[in-house]
Amino acid sequence: MTATDRNRAQAVLLKELREYRRRRSIIATMAILPILILIADAVAVFVVPRTTVILDARKYVVSPVLYLLLIPSVMPSTLSAYSVAGEREQGTLEPLLTTPIQRKEFILGKAAAVALPTMVLSYVVFALFLCGVALFAKTAIASATFGQGALVLALFLLAPLLAGWAIAVGMIASVKARDVRVAQQFGTLVSLPPVALILMLAAGVIHLTYLTAIIISAALLLIDYGAFQMVSRMMIPERLVMDSKPE
């Protein structure tokens, strides 16, 4: 067996980024969701009653902060669903598979190409939101936001793990589906469980503490690992280039 070659994964990443650059509409449409969430959150935390005190302010900030996690949960699904199905549709998958690239290198490169813009956009939006709160929100709101360490920890810890889920299941859909549109629809559907988790946290169904944040992160880490293993197992060239299962 040959060891995984990081250069080949980097080559896949570079190629994907070049394609994004040539098709800026991909990034433009990716940015729509983060902008909408940022606007909605800004309205939620800046339009609060004058008399709000820190204790009351907590209920105004938990939901908007957690809703920021919708960005890494939902945004990658379309791109990751395109990763394999798109190559197959444009006829580039077979030439690619005839090179010495290994499935792990391919998956790593493709996943990085989706994760990179997702995480950059997510953290930029998080930073903008938190800077806005620190600079312009009422003192009670700012104190409530930064005073809840578990909330900020959850924001930065869960974001890459939720993105990992969306990317992995999007790639599973992409490997399985024969059509890009089917892959993208399936990829969007499977991003719903993380959305449900975020809603439960925001509604207080799951009480957010340091412990729950760490438990949820650990669980997501395991799920992500399992999902990427599944992608790797499913990426059988015979299955990808033919319409039949290998014997």
Binding site: Q10, R22, P95, T98, E247
Partner: protein, 326 residues
């Protein structure tokens, strides 16, 4: 990068580049190809012919490690075909699929840079320039692939396969869908590769293409029908014959032809055209000419009838027994 796979050296150039032994691939109840055996020498252009659905592309995919064979064995570029050797084999070969498979939003150079990185090539810029030069595309290096014609895309695809300097190049229907001028350009490139000593495995259903380019051909229709040099196949399948055309039909052709010892049999293709099966055309032709003149015939044409690879192919597709020529 090639590791243990880089075992094709001058010392083993005498070994075949490709050895296939009773290779079979089945998808459930459907047999793509069965019991296929042949060898390809280094530097040989080997034609793999067959009708659509004969199993040509599946054979290439199997030898290219994309598909696992159901049974049988193969040695590709000196490396046994098995799941553990996939990367090493793919390092030694290059496959040009029927569709060019280029990233249309990337330039020609960017496409080649990507594949150069996947092959782990050192100094890719020089390799890319060389490959583009070989396919006469140096001046289109910065064009987006989406802006190129189908013929030019096929040339970029060929440049991609050349770039890694493979031991064996698999070209799967390289002229499919190309106009005659573009197809001729691809033929010229293949001739150039042969002159450079590259081993080429060419699948095609264009018989004139195979006849023109290939040292040997194999004809596949799920099972291998034959393997050999086109000329040898012709002589194995067809006896030598002389074609005679006269202005008006002979009154008694049997009287004329049956009396010639070197004519083994004859038949009329149309009332004034006769095909004579002969053992030796050079021996038979003067005698046939004399007899025709003696009988008062106005001879319009007389010459050896040349059988094409197409005749061989059509005869074999009619299920002639499997044979092997030297």
């Amino acid at each position: 990068m090639s590791g243990d796979g880089a075992i094709v050296s001058e010392g083993v150039r005498n070994e075949p580049a490709l050895v296939v032994n009773q290779l079979t691939k089945r998808f459930g109840n459907r047999t793509a190809f069965a019991d296929v055996s042949f060898e390809v020498a280094h530097g040989e252009v080997f034609g793999f012919l067959g009708p659509n659905g004969a199993g040509k592309t599946t054979t290439v995919r199997t030898l290219g490690t994309l598909i696992a064979p159901t049974s049988g064995s193969a040695i590709v570029a000196g490396i046994p075909l098995n799941p553990d050797n996939g990367v090493e084999i793919r390092q030694q070969i290059a496959i040009m699929p029927e569709a060019p498979g280029l990233y249309l939003r990337l330039t020609v150079t960017e496409n080649l840079e990507y594949f150069a990185a996947l092959y782990g090539l050192h100094r890719p810029d020089a390799r890319i320039r060389e490959a583009l030069g070989a396919v006469n595309l140096g001046d289109r290096a910065n064009d987006l692939c989406g802006s190129l014609s189908k013929g030019l895309r096929q040339r970029v695809s060929l440049a991609r396969t050349l770039m890694s300097d493979p031991t064996i190049m698999f070209l799967d229907e390289p002229t499919s869908g190309l106009d005659p001028a573009a197809a001729r350009e691809v033929h010229t490139l293949i001739v150039g590769l042969r002159q450079r000593g590259v081993t080429i495995f060419l699948t095609t259903h264009r018989l004139e293409e195979a006849e023109k380019l290939c040292d040997r051909v194999a004809i596949l229709n799920t099972t291998l029908k034959t393997v050999g040099r086109p000329a040898a196949l012709r002589s194995q399948l067809f006896r030598s014959s002389i074609l005679v055309k006269v202005r008006t039909p002979l009154d008694h052709p049997g009287v004329v032809f049956d009396s010639i010892r070197s004519v083994e049999s004859w038949h009329a293709e149309d009332p004034a055209t006769y095909v004579l099966e002969v053992s030796d055309p050079l021996l038979a032709a003067p005698e046939v000419t004399r007899r025709l003149v003696e009988s008062g015939a106005d001879v319009l044409h007389m010459g050896e009838r040349h059988r094409s690879l197409e005749d061989v192919y059509l005869a074999l597709m009619g299920d002639v027994a499997v044979m092997t020529a030297p």
